[in-house]
Amino acid sequence: MKNLVELIDVSLSYGKTLAVSNLNMKVPEGSFAAVVGPSGCGKSSLMKLVTGLMLATTGAVVVDGHEISGPVSIVGMAFQNPNLLPWRTTLENVMLPLEVVRPERHQLRAKKKEFTERAMDLLRIVGLESFANHYPWQLSGGMQQRASLCRSLIHQPRLLMLDEPFGALDAFTREELWDVLQTIWLERRFTAILVTHDLREALYLADDVHVMSNRPGCVARTVNTGAFSRPRGEQTFIDPAFNENVMELRADIRAQRMPIEMAATGAPTTPAGAAR
């Protein structure tokens, strides 16, 4: 299958700091990729690179067959903070991208009914149809995040970028939303890239889990989760192979973290012990 997103030897630096370097990653069209890594490894930089909000310092970011040189409009984004506009109802919030993205922004009046229908469809999938006319402050955190998810999908993007979208939710709500996301994805089959700290989340949702190294970040290892059949559910969590994978990923990340901790706490004592 052809790759919708491909990063080739990408590096990105902010001034003197190198955030990512030698980053190579392929995301086939229609697949679900997850990116995990120690904190500060450049996961958010990856988001900005793929969406074209930031341009690679060296290397190439290829999206849909073209090396990108600015924001790509085939993308939808959702973040840890749902960022709903408090003066708009849920429905109006969900429809915000249609007022901006081309060509829909010019068809707002002509296709109002169709667009509203589209938004209501999404709200129905995430179970918010009866809250379409509520304001964000009338929704719980999980409901706001569902609305944010709908907003990121309303313009039917071919690529969905998720930056720790469930990071601020409680464990029950989070797992509930994993299934909501899986349901939408199985139905629509867009390409998705999920950046997360949660290893179970990554393995549960993604086809490929990319482990990033310490800063400057690059892909240290890629784990394919094809062994776990979809739709995944309760049975996936109790699958011993799934839990083994989680443990392996944890070990990977710990290995990536090691150098920092050695330098910070281990360094003063180790040389003295070694000398004796």
Partner: protein
């Protein structure tokens, strides 16, 4: 709101007035030092026509100056809040300008425009546009970066972001500043009238104090205060209708 909260705004001023009245009687304070509230009321009643003549002028210059300040301040705020270039190049100048005592500018205005209406309008404007500009700029400059990214990734221009998010988002800031600015606008026009005018509450008070008619001076002060309160309440009301989303859950507004 319970009974106490409802009664508070009426009971407290009344109590203060009674205390003031009693103090004047008890210590036998001469009216040209501190007139009692009852004497001020009498002065208000006896000079109702004169006071109306002058206060209508003050209200007129204040409202015109303030209206210009809202338009100009909002425009400036949007400019400074949405463009880095505008921010870095305009902000120091604005701060500098706002630090200049406006009393010192009135004589210059008189040289340019003569005495009377125009200097009062200009002074009211100069005193009141700055808080509006700063507040609107703050509302725009504090858009969440993630939200900005969401729109930018969809191909939104800076103008789109300002229109869809920036301006609605800065509305509560705008209204907070209007409540401050309207009172400053009154200060501005009264300053100008005090220095250079034949008409206006400022003029009336200057003349009255020259004649040692201190109760009339106090009557002027009362009228200005009342006009300020009425205008403030008007904006508080409009604010509540337009930006209720920003203060929901609180039974009181966030005062300016």
């Amino acid at each position: 709101m319970n009974m106490m909260e409802r009664a508070g705004p009426i009971v407290l001023p009344l109590a203060l007035l009674i205390l003031w009245e009693l103090a004047c009687k008890a210590f036998d304070i001469p009216p040209f030092v501190l007139p009692s509230p009852s004497m001020v009321m009498v002065a208000l009643y006896n000079n109702a026509f004169v006071i109306w003549f002058h206060s209508s002028q003050t209200l007129y210059t204040t409202v015109v100056g303030f209206a210009v300040a809202v338009a100009f301040g909002a425009f400036l705020g949007i400019l400074v809040g949405s463009s880095r270039l505008a921010y870095t190049s305009l902000y120091p100048m604005l701060v500098g300008f706002n630090s200049v005592p406006k009393v010192a500018i009135v004589p210059i205005l008189v040289v340019w425009f003569g005495i009377g209406t125009v200097p009062a309008i200009v002074t009211a404007f100069m005193l009141s546009f700055f808080p509006i500009a700063v507040n609107v700029a703050t509302g725009l400059a504090t858009i969440e970066p993630d939200l900005r990214d969401v729109l930018r990734s969809l191909g939104a221009s800076q103008l789109d972001i300002v229109r869809k998010i920036g301006i609605p988002r800065s509305m509560p800031y705008l209204f907070a500043s209007l409540k401050i600015s309207i009172t400053l606008a009154f200060v501005g026009s009264v300053i100008s009238e005090t220095l250079a005018s034949n008409r206006g509450i400022g003029t009336l008070m200057t003349q009255a104090s020259a004649n040692f008619n201190i109760p009339l001076v106090f009557a002027g002060l009362v009228v200005i205060a009342l006009m300020g309160i009425v205008m403030y309440m008007m904006f508080a009301f409009v604010e509540k209708r337009m930006t209720g989303w920003a203060t929901r859950g609180a039974t009181f507004g966030i005062g300016g």
